[in-house]
């Protein structure tokens, strides 16, 4: 058994199409890929919101003034 459907290369390449593993699972792979992508946004949104909330209370006014001067 081979995950790409070919157990040897004794084939005529003119008759060969896809050679990636787990052919037939493209829709499932796409769903997993989309979950990864959307999940990334979710995690990033939440973390950035939390970080900005913490950051807005973290600044020392004197140091902020210095930073403004520095440009």
């Amino acid at each position: 058994m081979s995950t790409i459907g070919y157990e040897s290369w004794a084939v005529d390449l003119a008759e060969v199409g896809a050679i990636y593993p787990f052919q037939g699972s493209e829709v499932l792979m796409t769903i997993l890929g989309v979950i990864f992508w959307v999940g990334w946004h979710r995690i990033q949104f939440v973390r950035e919101g939390k970080h900005l909330e913490e950051a807005r209370r973290a600044g020392d006014p004197d140091k902020v003034r210095e930073l403004l001067e520095k440009y």
């Binding site: 058994m1 081979s2 995950t3 040897s8 792979m29 890929g33 973390r47």
Partner: protein, 457 residues
């Protein structure tokens, strides 16, 4: 070159490899920028010089004996003797190792492999910055660049290598043959070399030593990405007929192949390079909580993890494999750092070594049963073969030789720079010479101005 088709194929192949070599030069430019950016101001010139001199030292030794090893060692020493016939054609005094109108491929093919050699040496160079003697690193550069990696290439990255024949070892874009071995080698050296002064607090807590110039690191790693893309193309044979392959493939359809002469396409690896880069970047951003340098390095680690099977993966598989690899690599890096008190200045052991090993193991499952070669009688790809292969790369040809040589260098007192020099900086003498020269020329200019000035009347 008989006939127009042969002539076109030969000249196209010659030009194809030549272009990949030029692209791959950017890997070394990127490594130099990354190392200098990561080092502190007092060590810049030595850091840069240490990596730049890798280029000539590995080049000449690869010409003298590295290239011969690749052709002579596919079975040696475990499954046969040296292949003298193939090896002799690649000795430095062979007619094909020079301007020769009957052979237009050897030079560009040699150069493509040579650029991989530079990369292997340069990976080690990054891990050891700011405390290794250049002389010690340059010995390691020659050993990893012109001996150890090219032995692993003969065994596992050659269409007739014994690892390919008997283990079904498959490593299309060098997860193991470049990255696992170089990461393992770097680990062997830093284990003997020890951390930079101040890296660990008295209670063993690691301290961050931030890069002095984040922008140099950023541009450096982007150049590495670009060169890596060229590296992918260099790992393929661009166009070859079944007849020229001489294996089991039937018919007359030409194809691109991987280094094992098994079919793939430039289109496939373009998909997979970009998707694994993206998967690595996204996973690294999350796992490192947005740390810029880990995110950038994660892109690289993602590509490295997927590289073993990127000739065959579906793009979504490449993305997910990269993401999984990066999460493992990131956590393993910090675990090893805390547990063993190792100072890997640029994360080279993790990004290259662990990613390479993880990528090989994953590919054993993903490509289980796939023919590793177009030739009859070879083992097919399998998890055991890939795992054994990963161990041979990381430990057998990487970690163990590096540790032994570093131990000998340490015993002879030629591995690490003196503590006083580490504190004052490797560039201390050059900085003084620079300041003295500056003061002298300013004084000279002032004296000249004073002498030339005409008094007001």
């Amino acid at each position: 070159m008989d006939g127009n088709l042969n002539a076109l194929t030969t000249v196209f192949t010659e030009f194809y490899y030549w272009v990949t070599v030029v692209f791959m030069f950017l890997i070394h430019v990127g490594f130099c920028m990354y190392e200098v950016g990561a080092s502190r101001h007092r060590n810049h010139m030595h850091t840069l010089m240490k990596n730049v001199m890798v280029i000539p030292l590995v080049t000449v030794t690869f010409f003298f004996f590295g290239w011969w090893i690749y052709w002579a060692f596919p079975d040696f020493p475990f499954f046969g003797g040296l292949n003298h016939e193939a090896g002799n054609a690649n000795l430095p005094w062979s007619e094909t190792m020079g301007t020769n109108l009957s052979d237009r491929i050897t030079g560009v093919f040699w150069a493509a492999f040579l650029l991989f050699s530079w990369t292997a040496a340069s990976i080690v160079s990054g891990a050891v910055i700011e405390r290794i003697r250049s002389s010690a690193l340059w010995v390691h550069a020659v050993l990893i660049g012109s001996v150890w990696w090219i032995i692993d290439a003969a065994w596992g990255w050659h269409y007739a290598g014994w690892m390919v024949k008997y283990l079904g070892y498959h490593d299309a874009y060098a997860s193991g043959v470049i990255h696992a071995i170089a990461g393992g080698y770097a680990l062997g050296v830093i284990m003997v070399l020890g951390p930079r002064i101040g890296k660990f607090a008295k209670d063993g807590t690691p301290r961050d030593i931030p890069p002095h110039n984040p922008w140099m690191l950023t541009i450096g790693i982007f150049l590495i990405y670009t060169g890596f893309w060229g590296f992918y193309a260099a790992c393929n044979v661009p166009a070859i007929s079944p007849e020229a392959i001489g294996g089991q493939i039937t018919g007359t359809t030409w194809t691109a192949t991987n280094i094992y002469l098994a079919p793939t396409s430039l289109s496939a690896i373009t998909f997979n390079f970009l998707m694994s880069l993206s998967g690595g970047l996204m996973a690294a951003y999350v796992v490192s909580r947005g740390d810029a340098f880990w995110t950038f390095s994660g892109g690289l680690a993602g590509v490295i993890t997927a590289s073993a099977g990127n000739d065959l993966y579906h793009p979504i598989q490449a993305m997910l494999v990269a993401a999984v690899g990066v999460v493992i690599v990131y956590n393993l890096h910090y675990w090893v750092e805390r547990r063993f008190k190792l100072d890997d200045a640029v994360g080279a052991v993790a990004v290259h070594g662990y990613a390479g090993v993880v990528g090989l193991v994953i590919s054993g499952f993903m490509l289980w049963g796939v023919p590793a070669s177009p030739f009859e009688g070879y083992a097919s790809i399998n998890p055991v073969g890939q795992t054994v292969g990963a161990l041979i790369m990381f430990f057998g040809l990487g970690f163990i030789p590096a540790w032994c040589v570093a131990k000998m260098q340490a015993a002879a007192g030629v591995l690490r720079i003196p503590e006083e020099v580490e504190l004052q900086g490797l560039d201390y003498a050059e900085h003084h010479a620079y300041e003295d020269a500056k003061a002298e020329i300013i004084e000279a200019d002032k004296a000249h101005l004073a002498a030339a000035a005409t008094p007001a009347e």
